[in-house]
């Protein structure tokens, strides 16, 4: 299987590898996938007081495309608000990395990982995970 240059770059020089302390209030953790399926992604975000994602870390068990997809999204989410990060779509990831059709599931998993991390952060802070509950946010905060 031939990989695109971008996949190889992210695979060989993965960005933001590592872990944050899961129990830290500022951290949201998303873990998606299953070992039996051949890929598991753990994505963590650090969110500041203003609700902006300051930093991100990932660890991924999976093929080169899965590692590259998760590495890429750690770069993309940084500096974004939670709502902005929620708009990242797997098609953008697949396009950026020129993933072949058989590897599209890797980009879907990366999108799921972002959403899971944001959901985890919101739950920690008593925020509703879905956007239409935004009105409740002030009360909860």
């Amino acid at each position: 299987m031939a990989y695109s240059e971008k996949v190889i770059d992210h695979y060989e020089n993965p960005r933001n590898v590592g872990s944050f302390d899961k129990s830290d209030e500022a951290i949201g953790t998303g873990m998606v996938g299953a070992p039996a399926c051949g890929d598991v992604m753990k994505l963590q975000i650090r969110v500041n007081q203003q609700g902006i994602i300051e930093d991100a870390r990932f660890k991924t068990y999976g093929c080169g495309s899965a590692i590259a997809s998760s590495s890429l999204v750690t770069e993309w989410v940084k500096g974004k608000s939670l709502d902005q990060a929620m708009t990242i779509r797997n098609t953008q990831i697949a396009e950026e990395l020129a993933l072949p059709p058989v590897k599209i599931h890797c980009s879907i998993l990366a999108e799921d990982a972002i959403k899971a991390a944001i959901t985890d952060y919101k739950q920690k802070h008593g925020l509703e995970a879905n956007a239409d509950a935004a009105a409740d946010q002030k009360v909860a905060a």
Binding site: Y11, G33, P35, A36, G38, D39, V40, K59, I67
Partner: protein
């Protein structure tokens, strides 16, 4: 040292230079059609084909008249299974084979199922070997053909062909053995083995691709229905002009195998054991398949918490095969490793190393060092490794299968 290092000899072998030298004159000068009976060009080609037939027969202690040329082991297996099943269909329409067989066998039996035959696919033990009692129990009065591979292509385990042959012969069942991975690796004596049909490939034993052979026993005689028609070559069993240069190559490759296999296999075993010893120093690695009943050149190992395809990408300086097929939409790991009862995780994490005639000790040492470093790097990237180190039992986690 030349990179990348080839450690995939079970996929194919380079053609031995001595084999190439024998083949070339049959492309340049002796181009005759072996079926041309009316001139010297044909006679010369025919002699070369018959000499090669004798060399192939000699490696497996058979009569040259029992060797039928084919385009490779896949065609030989198709001819054996479909040919015998069709010929004996009035006797019965049941076949028995094994879940860990090569796709050439499994796809042929699937085709026979579509034609109305019934096929039993036997499980294997966790070490990859057949359970002889389960084997006996699967045989029925209407079983006409049994097919078992001599050496498994993924895990290299050697099935008990002598015993299986005895069981089949007692019951009058045609016994086919896929020996594509066995020639030059294990001693094959068809005078003692009760095997009726045996498939061979040239390119797994330092011969060229595109040629193979089927052994068809004469005493007791086994009958086949031809699958390829036109011209009546190979005693009507396989029509088509014989590729003289390919056949000459297979003959020379098998002649060399017979002369050199005893010493060669000792050297290769030493290299494989060196590889195994080096890689076994890594934590959480598992050898797949029985280590005692195994060809000397195969090592199949799972590197827990590392996904096979990413490992192959990381070690691109060595050419190996993975048991993970992450390229398919279903993400199915190796069906052979699944049949051993390996978890999907370990099946996804497996690598097949096969060493061969041109592998050196330096190459093995380079491979061990590279793999150690890359496994460590990928484990640093692996959330599963992190959880394992935190003492979390991964089986206790509720994963969302996707």
């Amino acid at each position: 040292m030349q990179l990348p290092i080839y450690l995939d000899y079970s996929a194919t072998t380079p053609v031995d230079p001595r084999v190439v030298d024998k083949m070339v004159p049959y492309l340049r000068n002796h181009f005759g059609n072996p079926a041309s009976r009316s001139h010297a060009f044909g006679w010369e080609a025919e002699k070369a084909v018959e000499d090669a037939r004798a060399q192939v027969a000699a490696l497996v202690n058979a009569d040259p008249r029992e060797i039928i040329w084919t385009s490779g082991a896949t065609e030989a297996i198709n001819l054996a299974l479909k040919g015998a099943a069709h010929f004996y269909k009035d006797k019965g329409k049941h076949l028995v084979t094994v879940k860990t067989e090569h796709k050439a066998t499994l796809d042929s039996t699937r085709e026979l199922e579509r034609e109305g035959f019934e096929v039993t696919y036997l499980d294997v033990l966790p070490n990859g070997l057949l359970d002889l009692d389960a084997f006996k129990a699967a045989l029925r009065p209407d079983t006409t053909v049994v097919s078992v591979m001599f050496v498994n292509n993924e895990i290299g385990v050697i099935q008990d062909i002598p015993t299986l042959g005895d069981i089949c012969r007692q019951r009058g069942i045609v016994f086919h053995v896929d020996a594509a991975q066995a020639t030059g690796k294990v001693v094959i004596d068809l005078q003692t083995l009760k095997v009726d049909l045996m498939s061979f490939s040239a390119h797994k034993t330092y011969g060229p691709k595109g040629v193979g052979a089927l052994y068809v026993r004469r005493k007791p005689r086994v009958r086949l229905e031809a699958q390829m028609h036109g011209g009546g070559h190979e005693r009507g069993l396989r029509s088509g002009t014989l590729p003289t240069h390919q056949i000459v190559g297979m003959g020379e490759a098998f002649r060399l195998a017979r002369l050199e296999m005893a010493t060669e296999n000792e050297r290769i075993r030493m290299l494989r054991d060196r590889l195994n010893k080096g890689l076994s120093e890594i934590e959480e690695v598992y050898v797949n398949g029985d280590m005692d009943h195994r060809v000397p050149h195969n090592l199949n190992m799972s590197f827990n918490f590392v996904e096979g395809e990413s490992l192959i990408m990381a070690i691109k300086d060595i050419a190996v095969s993975s048991g993970s097929a992450c390229t398919s939409a279903s993400l199915e790991p190796s069906y052979v490793l699944r049949a051993l009862g390996r978890s999907d995780e370990l099946a996804h994490s497996s690598i097949r190393f096969t060493v061969g005639r041109f592998t050196t000790e330096d190459e093995i040492d380079y491979a061990v060092d590279l793999i150690k470093r890359k496994v460590a790097k990928l484990r640093d990237l692996s959330p599963l490794w992190e959880m394992h180190k935190e003492g979390i039992d991964l089986n206790s986690v509720q994963w969302a299968a996707h």
